[in-house]
Structure formats: structure tokens, C-alpha cells
Subunit: 590 residues, 2 copies
């Protein structure tokens, strides 16, 4: 009996969990193995955590096992301390029955005893951490050699196989990050960088109506089941602290937040009343909980705000608009910018990664690539250097809404101004005329900018601009972004990307329907669509589908052609003859 | 009371029909005007025909009015004749109750009295036909000047405003086509070419189970309601002739077919039994009915077939595989290639446009841009010249399955080998790993290749590779391809494309929810999604949505910022000061 029937568990179709051991460290790296009927199994990247492992005991009241526990204590550079006390404001002053229960098992938080405990600090010191070996193994997906290298990578440096040393060197030069708060021992580490697989993020968040912790945890579990590599908790309102605790304790993926949202809650939603002290307190609160990356809109500077005056859609970043309002009201530079070095001190003590927010990103095609956007980008580059100077890990957020012909400039400018720190974009949407379909308008931009070098793509669901995504919308958004990220990997010439395409194509050509479904990103939907018109089991081996029927199935005819040709002479030999002699088809009796 | 309750009629939300008269000819060009609450109306392209005009009397038993009737007779170069007699084979030997009734009003077909009656022949002779003036007006969408020109067009020549003479010159040089059979007088002409708006095609077709003619007509009406510019009838099986008649008589858009499918039916589905005589008879049968363009796989030559031997997915074009089988069996060049000049004689006598089929297009990422594909493309270029020499209109079909980094080469080679004849691609899919989501994997490729210069995009529905699309799938496919085509227009710098994006973005920023819905490609879905969480009418004027709620609405805060700034000094003036002086924010009392 499942202890938490609300949580989605169980393996993906035809899939089993595989754990690959490390050679430097005591680690077990999870992968998913898809069993096939007509050829050997395919091993693929697996972000879903223990929830898809039938051997795992899932109980969200206990949280996930602390896979990183020994690694963290083994380093001896951080120690537990009596954390910041919980306040009523942390949960929006809710009490009694409306208060979400606290997560039952509270650990004392860890904090650096001195200096930085970041992956960047270790990398610079020449140390290959367990996290680094873990992601190196993970990125190879069981490959021992390159499969196919055929792409245009625009100057990236993707190796045939990822080694732990390569991971270390990429982190050391700031070109990749492993978001991994030392207070998130449940994390299965993953890496974000241009020379690795393109990653995707899914946003979740409670609505104004109180959600239960099971519901919130399941949103996260559901998103990673379909392939989300990180999850941002954008909750606002009541119970925000306690729900976040439940999410992190049960999250095998990095959790990101925008601490400004909670800080704003603490001042009753009045942007002008925000202070550095309240913000700082919120950073520490969330760092102690184990949030792996913070979106911080420190690039919105006072002098940039007038640059948005003539925009069609003004400032569309929530964090950006809140800080702009604060700046204008107080007539001064934002505390995020002024106190940036102090923020770095917090980040390095827990290894919270900076996601430098693009508060002035465009909110429409009309505003793309404007002065405000690029002025902020330059500031983000300046802040990147300041964060790196303190051994903090950094990635950079990007737009938003950008037509196709302006995408490349975004990537090029980001690489230039931000010194190759990883880029993390929201889409971008390539047109504004399709509300209800913005997962698609943005998947076009996401695939392209991923190809150009963006390391992580933040998903957009069909509900974007219209309302809160439900379970189906989250799945649609995640699958859409997985396919966009994969299209980008293919185009970059990632040495393993084409394995899955080819395996699926072979299954398709061989009429191995079950293999075709199971190799897809969403086996359930593919199977359902096929079964709408051909439900019988016999049809799962049929040499045609209902699209064309047996007489018009090109693949069936292709098989007939091969059989005919092979009977005559062997098609391969005919092909060779043609290639050798460059002449017309050689008849069987020639 | 509607005479045909099965047919979808009625205007799109907040929209009315507008007819713009010509100045050279007696024509009325339909457009759609979207009424807005906060600004003047927006006029957009309208492919939906009389079905969205409340003033139109729709009765599919009578067919649509013959808007081109007088234009055709006025030219005096074609005359009615006693057409080819209907045979039992034309409807798959079905009779009695299972026979779909013939369309009630049969006209004698028109045929050229001598020479060519093609738009290309007229254009070369310096004649601006009513069709040419019609599409010129249509392409401008009510604009009298360029709106915004900001794009990368890769060497296209898109004018600020389309003139009838520009249309004529583009057709004369083969760079654009108006598919318009002289036996399709119900047609509202449209143009396909790189220097015009990117168009989309939707495929329909009856399944093995007999469909009623109402169902088939409504599939077409449904597809054009959402924006399909042309419709291909890919029906096979029984009643194929009679159903096609019902479709064409009720179609305001060009109808395309693959005549080989019907020819194959006539020989009981045995590819080897196909003959030039049966094929020729089918061409004439369909030309007399009024089919506007034929897909003809004349580029599949005998010596190319062995080039597909090592492919992962062989030959995936139905027409291509049928012809390859024929060629192999008979050990000779296909009759489509051998008899190409005779085919041209038929095409020019009715002005049926060639859609030169890519029978060897790749069916998987693995097979993209291979020797077979490009060998065929070169042959299509040779055939283009032969067709042009006989004054036939031509466009070229393209792939299929192509990863992003190989897309541009497809466009470049097509332009080079096919002498700028319009390109018409199927997607292409940019990855094979997402069955059930191939409308999206292919929309990425479609948007990009549309940007690079492809003139028309053939839609892919979510059911691709899995089964026959239903009504919802058709709509999803059409909307997805409309947004991809529009993203391409934006990126090319089409001088009118951004008007709609900007109008929608202004509506969004102003919280004009109804305008935002109505300006979108699918107002119904956008409205439904919004209403799931905020159903009340009062919410349609709310200055926030359920995504972020009132406290976190960036657009609401942006308005607050503008109001604050304007009270202080005027944000525009501050912006000017900043721009002039390049200094930090100037305080109110400065």
C-alpha cells in the first residue's frame, strides 16, 4: 500500500531504474533504462528521482534519503548551528487549522565555518567533489563513446564523453554550475552549462487558495517525472515557509525561488516598505531550508527605469517591477545592487547559486532587445564578476519575448557581457498572437536559443498570460520543453543526443509500436492516440497505422521494395555498384 | 435556420467581414475586421471564405458562388466541353446506398482552346489578371503603408506594399504561384511565394470508413476557419470522386491532391499495375473537377532508389514509395518522369499548379539531407524549368524530418537548384522523440524554414505517425502552423506582421482581456483558459489575472510606476533627460 496515494509514483512504461557507481566517490547515479523488443535497451537521463523506483519507499513525511549527507559532512568545512527561529510572518501570519503543518523532521542547518563552501570554490582549488563526479556520469547516459557528432555548436566545447575533470574545469571557469545548497542533502546533483545537455525548469507555486502540502509536493514530483531538471517554487501568500519545507525535503532536483516574493509578503505586499533587513532575513531563512538557487534582480538600476517609459508592455518581470517601484519611491539605487557583496557572503556560506534575474526583460515582441534590456544585461555581467570574486556560482536569466531574428543577438551579447556564465531563458516567445499556445510560440524560441548556447530553458505552459497551470498544463509544458531542449542538443551535435531519435526511428520503421511509444517523451499519450483508432492488441504489431492504412503505408512499401531488391540482387550491393560506378541502376542480370 | 447544421458557420468573436473593391477589376477581396474596445479595429487576413459572413447563405448542395465566373469567361481563351464520363472506378466501384450522392449541379468543364491558360502565361504576357489584383489587395490586409520593417529576410524582396504589378512580376519569374484551376470558379485567390505572407496547408481526407459529404466538407470549412490557406484532400478508398466534388464546390481555398492515390485505387492498390494511361485519365478527371494543384512525384528516378538502401527509415513519402516500387518492378524510369511534358500539357490547359513532390524526403533525423534527398531535389529543379517552358506554375515540396542545424541548407539548395520556385515543406520535425507532440517538434522547423524563405508550410497534427487527426487535432495543427508562419513573417521583417502582436500586447498591458482574447489566433481557447480560474464578467476588466494575483502583477505595478513617475515629473521627460544627458536619474526637484 502506498503511504501517500496523492504522490505519483511508479516506473515509466517499460522502464527500470539503473544506478551507476562512481570510481572516485561512493555515489550511485540514477538512470532510466528503456527495455525494447527488437533491439537492446536504451539508457536515458533520468530526473525523476526515487519516485519512479519501485524499490524506493516513498513517504513524504519522512522526506527523501539524504544521498549527499556523507559528502557534506566529509568535507568538514561546514557545521550545524541553531538556525533562525521561525516567525509568524514566514507563513503569512496564518494559524490554527489553516496553518500547513511543519515538516516533521527538522535538521539544524549547516553553514560554512569560514569562507566559501561552493562547488566553484572547490573547483578552483582543484577538488573534484562527489557532486562533480555524479554529474559527469549522469551526463554520459551510459555511453562509453560518442555516438554521432554532427552539428553546429557556435563555439561551444562539448566533449565526446564528460569526465569529472571536465566538469571541474567548466565550473572553475564559471561556465557551468551545480546548484546544490549544503542544506539540500536529498539532492541528486545536476549541472547547468553550455557544454552539457540542455536543461529545463518547471515553475510551480501555490495559488491564493491554500494548497495542501501533498498537492504541492506532487506538483514537483509530476514535473520531474516528465523531465523537469529543476523546479522553481514561485509560491506567494500563506504557508509559504512550511510548504517550501515539504517540497525541498522531498525534492531530488534543485529548487529555485525568488526570495523577493516572500519578502514582499512580509511587508503586506507594499513594495515601498521593503528593506534590506527583511530581504536579508528571507535569504537566510530560505538558505537554511536548502533552496538551491535564488533569482535576484540586482541588475535593475535606478537610471534604467526611464528606459522603459516608451515600452509597449513596461516592466513584466514581477521582481523587476517590484524593485523598480521601490527605487522610484525611494529615489535611490536598489538594496539588491547596493548590498550585492553582502548577498554574496550569504550565498557562499550555503552554496546557493545566483540566478541573476532579468527584471527588465521584454514583455512583448515590440520591446525585444531594447536599451533597457541590454543595459541590465551589462550590469548582470558586472555582478557576475563580483560574485565570482567571492566564489559564488552564477547563472543569468534571459528573455522573454523575442522574434526569431533577434534571438542570436541575445545569446551573443550574453556570452560577451556575462563572460560565458550559463544563460537561462524564459522561452522566449517568438510571437505574441497566440494566447493559449504560448508553450509553442516559446518552444520555437527555446529550441533555437538552446541551440545557440543557452544552458537551461524555463518552461512556459499553455496557460501563460491567462491563468495558473493545472496538472495537464504542467505536463504539456514540460514535454514541450524537453523536446525543445533535445532539438537543441541534436543541433549542437551533442555526442549522445541522436541515439534516442535513431532508436525510435528504427522502431517506427520496424513497426515495433510498443517500442515507438516507450521511447517517446510521453508514452502514455502516444499509446492513447494510436489506440483511438486501432485499439486491438493485434494492431500493436500491424505493419501500418490508421493514418494511411495498409495499402498506402510508405514504410510497408519500403519493406516490400527492400525485399524485392534483395531477392533480385541485394540492395546494398546495388547501392555499392551505383556509388562505385556512378551509373544508372544495374539490372540483376547485368 | 441553417440549411446545413453540420457545417461550422458564423463570424469569429468580435469580428466582421469586410470586402475591399479592386481598382483594375470588378473584385471584392474579403478581410476580417476585429473590433477592439480600447483602440480602433484591426484588419487581418481571412482565409475562411463566406462561412464566417453572417450575410452569406450557406447551402453545400448549391456550392459557393462562382466569384471567378466572369473573370474566366471574360478571358475568352477556354471553353466548356463535354467532360470525361464518370466511371465506376472513380468512386471505387461502390454503388447503391453506399455511394455518396453526386454533387447536384454539374457544370461542363472548361479547357484551354489553345496554349496555356495559366497565371504564369498571363504574367509573362504582361497581363494583370483579376486573380493578381485580388491577391495584391489581400496581402496588404488593409494597410496603406509599411507598419514596421525590422527583420532579416535572407535575400528576399518583400515590398512595403504589394501592388498588382509586383504580383505579376513575381509570378512571371516563377517566384510565386496562384493555384487557381479554371474549373474552380468558387476560389478566393491566394498567392504562394517567398515575398508574400507565409501560408499554411491543412490535410484532410476520408478514412476507410465512409464519411458523409457533410463531414468532409466541414473538415475543410473547419480548417480554413482557423487559418488554413490551402487544403489538400488526401482521401483514399471509396467515393473519392464524389466527395472531392462536394469539397471543391464548397471550397474558397485552393484544393490540392495527390492524383497517384486515386490512380492506385483504380488498379486495386497494386503499384506495379499502374500505367501512364490510368494516371493520365486521373489527372484529367481531377483537373476537370477543379483541383488547383497536384502533387506529382516525378523526381523519383530509378537510379536514386538504391541511395535509400542504407536509410534508417527508407522511403516515407507514400507517393515516393509507390513510384519506387513501380520502378523497381518494371526496371525502368517512372512514367511521371518519362511523360512529364505530356503532364505539362494537361496542367497548362486547366491551370493546375505543379507541387513537385519530394518522394525521397527523409523520414527521420538520421536520414536528413542525404544523397537521395538532394539528388531528387536537383531533378525537381530540372523539371521546374521544363514546366516553366510550357507556362506551367510550379512549387516544390520539401522535408520532412530535419534537425535545426540542417534546415538552412535545405532552403539554400532549394533556392539554388529550383531557381527560386516557391518551397513548400512538411514541418520539418526537428526531433523524432516526441510522438504525440509532432505538431510542436515540427512547428520549430516550420517557423525557422519559413523565416529562411519557405513560402508555404504543410501542417502536422498531434496525431502524426499515430493515427488519423480528429476535429480537435486539425484545429491544433492549424493554429500551431499559423503561429509558426506568423513567427516567420515577423522574423523576415514583413511590413505588416507586427501590427497584430503590438495590438495584442497593448491590450495585455491595458488589461483589456476581451481584446486580448479576440486578437489571438484562438479566442475561444484563450477565453476558456482564463475563465477556468476567473470566470466572472467582472474579472474581464480586472487589472490582474490568476497567474500572479493583484499584489504580484508586474503590469499593474508598471502602471503604478508610470503614474508615480508622471506625477513627479513625467516619465517621458525623464527618459528624454536621460537620453540627452546620459546621466543618472534626474530627481524631481533637480
Amino acid at each position: 500500500m502506498k503511504p501517500n496515494p496523492q504522490i505519483t509514483t511508479g516506473p515509466m512504461p517499460a522502464s527500470s531504474k539503473l544506478y551507476v557507481p562512481g570510481s572516485l566517490h561512493d555515489i550511485r547515479v540514477p538512470m532510466r533504462r528503456i527495455a525494447l523488443t527488437g533491439e537492446g535497451p536504451l539508457t536515458v537521463y533520468d530526473s525523476s528521482g526515487p519516485y519512479t523506483d519501485p524499490a524506493a519507499q516513498i513517504d513524504i513525511r519522512g522526506g527523501l534519503p539524504a544521498v549527499r549527507g556523507a559528502w557534506l559532512t566529509g568535507r568538514g568545512d561546514a557545521e550545524p548551528y541553531l538556525g533562525r527561529p521561525l516567525t509568524a510572518a514566514d507563513n503569512g501570519f496564518v494559524d490554527g487549522k489553516r496553518l500547513t503543518p511543519a515538516f516533521p523532521h527538522q535538521r539544524d542547518p549547516l553553514r560554512a565555518t569560514k569562507g566559501a563552501v561552493t562547488q566553484l570554490a572547490y573547483a578552483r582549488a582543484g577538488i573534484i567533489t562527489p557532486e562533480m563526479e555524479y554529474v559527469a556520469i549522469r551526463e554520459n547516459e551510459g555511453r562509453t563513446a560518442a555516438y554521432t557528432r554532427d552539428g553546429e555548436d557556435f563555439g561551444a566545447s562539448i566533449p565526446d564523453l564528460v569526465t569529472p575533470e571536465f566538469v571541474r574545469s567548466e565550473i572553475a571557469r564559471g561556465r557551468a554550475v551545480i546548484p546544490a545548497n549544503i542544506n539540500h542533502p536529498e539532492l541528486e546533483p545536476m549541472i547547468i552549462g553550455r557544454n552539457f545537455l540542455v536543461k529545463i525548469n518547471a515553475n510551480i507555486g501555490n495559488s491564493a487558495v491554500t494548497s495542501s502540502m501533498e498537492e504541492e509536493v506532487d506538483k514537483m514530483v509530476w514535473a520531474i517525472r516528465w523531465g523537469a531538471d529543476t523546479v522553481m517554487d514561485l509560491s506567494t501568500g500563506r504557508n509559504i515557509h512550511n510548504i517550501r519545507d515539504w517540497i525541498i525535503r522531498n525534492a531530488p532536483v534543485p529548487i529555485g525561488t525568488v526570495p523577493l516574493y516572500q519578502a514582499l509578503e512580509k511587508v503586506g505586499g507594499i513594495a515601498e516598505d521593503l528593506t534590506w533587513e527583511i530581504y536579508r532575513d528571507t535569504l537566510i531563512e530560505q538558505a537554511e531550508q536548502g533552496v538551491d538557487y535564488f533569482t535576484i534582480h540586482a541588475g535593475v538600476r535606478l537610471h534604467m527605469i526611464p528606459m522603459t517609459a516608451r515600452r509597449v508592455t513596461g516592466i513584466v518581470s514581477r521582481g523587476g517591477s517590484i524593485m523598480a517601484k521601490w527605487c522610484l519611491h525611494h529615489h535611490r539605487e536598489s538594496f539588491l545592487y547596493d548590498r550585492f557583496d553582502e548577498i554574496c557572503e550569504i550565498m557562499r556560506a550555503y552554496d546557493v547559486t545566483f540566478s541573476l534575474g532579468d527584471g527588465l526583460r521584454p514583455g512583448s515582441i515590440a520591446d525585444a532587445n531594447d536599451q533597457a534590456q541590454f543595459a541590465e544585461l551589462e550590469t548582470l555581467g558586472e555582478l557576475t564578476k563580483r560574485a565570482w570574486a567571492r566564489d559564488c556560482q552564477v547563472f543569468i536569466e534571459g528573455p522573454g519575448h523575442v522574434p526569431m531574428h533577434k534571438l542570436k543577438a541575445n545569446m551573443d551579447k550574453q556570452l560577451e557581457h556575462c563572460h560565458e556564465a550559463p544563460f537561462y531563458t524564459l522561452g522566449p516567445l517568438t510571437t505574441d498572437i497566440a494566447p493559449g499556445y504560448d508553450h509553442i510560440t516559446s518552444a520555437i524560441g527555446a529550441a533555437m536559443i538552446g541551440w545557440f548556447g543557452t544552458a537551461m530553458l524555463c518552461y512556459v505552459t499553455p496557460k501563460e498570460h491567462l491563468g495558473l497551470p493545472d496538472r495537464d498544463d504542467v505536463k504539456t509544458g514540460v514535454i514541450t520543453y524537453k523536446l525543445a531542449a533535445h532539438a537543441a542538443d541534436l543541433a549542437k551535435g551533442h555526442p549522445g543526443a541522436q541515439m534516442r531519435d535513431d532508436a525510435l526511428s528504427r522502431a517506427r520503421f520496424d513497426f515495433r509500436w510498443q517500442d515507438q511509444f516507450n521511447l517517446g517523451l510521453d508514452p502514455d499519450t502516444a499509446r492513447e492516440m494510436h489506440d483511438e483508432t486501432m485499439p486491438a492488441d493485434a494492431h500493436k504489431v500491424a505493419h501500418f497505422c490508421s493514418m494511411c492504412g495498409p495499402k498506402f503505408c510508405s514504410m510497408k512499401i519500403s519493406h516490400d521494395i527492400r525485399a524485392t531488391a534483395e531477392k533480385q540482387q541485394g540492395m546494398e550491393r546495388m547501392a555499392d555498384l551505383f556509388r562505385e560506378k556512378g551509373q544508372l541502376y544495374v539490372p540483376a542480370d547485368g
